[in-house]
């Protein structure tokens, strides 16, 4: 089973875990991305996330389908935030449930690594003295 979501309001970690939990699964692996307070020595004031929503949901679904195809995983959930996030807030949650932990760990890592490469979501880092779209320039 797959669930993907893009949300303009706070993600709920517990409800993500509850959604993947199932009697056939002996392990749940959860990746929680959080907003870091420092990038390359500069204090981050906030992050602003923007998504091309329809395509981002498509790409998130593709990752989830690929995970179900590659690993013996029962359930995968991918939730991503948009909008303004402060330090410590949660931009992304990936939860994977499988019968055994090996598949859950591997699939979860694959999902976040692939999301960062292919899902059309962008973040702007806002510092005290300026701002930058992450990864935009070489």
């Amino acid at each position: 089973m797959i669930e993907v979501k893009i949300s303009g309001t706070a993600l709920n970690i517990q409800s993500c875990i509850d959604w993947v939990m199932s009697p056939q699964c002996g392990g749940i692996d959860v990746f929680i991305g959080t907003v870091r307070n420092i990038t390359k020595g500069k204090t981050v004031v906030r992050l602003e996330f923007e998504a091309y929503e329809a395509m981002a949901l498509n790409e998130m679904r593709k990752i989830a389908e690929e995970v179900l195809h590659k690993w013996p995983v029962q359930k995968i959930l991918i939730h991503h935030r948009t909008g303004v996030l402060q330090t410590g807030e949660v931009p992304v949650i990936i939860a994977v449930a499988a019968a055994h932990r090996g598949a859950a760990f591997e699939a979860c890592r694959y999902a976040i690594d692939t999301l960062k490469k292919s899902v059309p979501i962008w973040k702007k880092e806002v510092f005290e003295d300026g701002e930058i779209w992450v990864a935009a320039h070489p």
Partner: protein, 80 residues
């Protein structure tokens, strides 16, 4: 043909708008679109890379664009 191009992230700042209306030759390819855009907005060439999406899918350079397609410019993604 008249096309409305969706812009995101830094491309929105380069275009100065989230939707850019441009005139494109009928059955233009993705690479032809990129040439037109880069002539008008040279800052696109300074990006690490950028992709074109056609109807919510990453498009290859030789893909043909039709008037009904939804076109978006995808600068380097940075989600997560």
């Amino acid at each position: 043909m008249k096309m409305s191009i969706l812009a995101f992230g830094i491309v929105k700042e380069i275009f100065g708008a989230s939707v850019l209306d441009i005139e494109l030759t009928d059955a233009a390819t993705v690479v032809e679109l990129k040439i037109v855009l880069e002539q008008k907005y040279p800052r696109l060439k300074q990006l690490a890379s950028y992709m074109v999406a056609v109807n919510n899918e990453y498009a290859g350079t030789n893909q043909i664009i039709t008037g009904k397609d939804e076109i978006a410019i995808i600068p380097p993604v940075s989600g997560g």
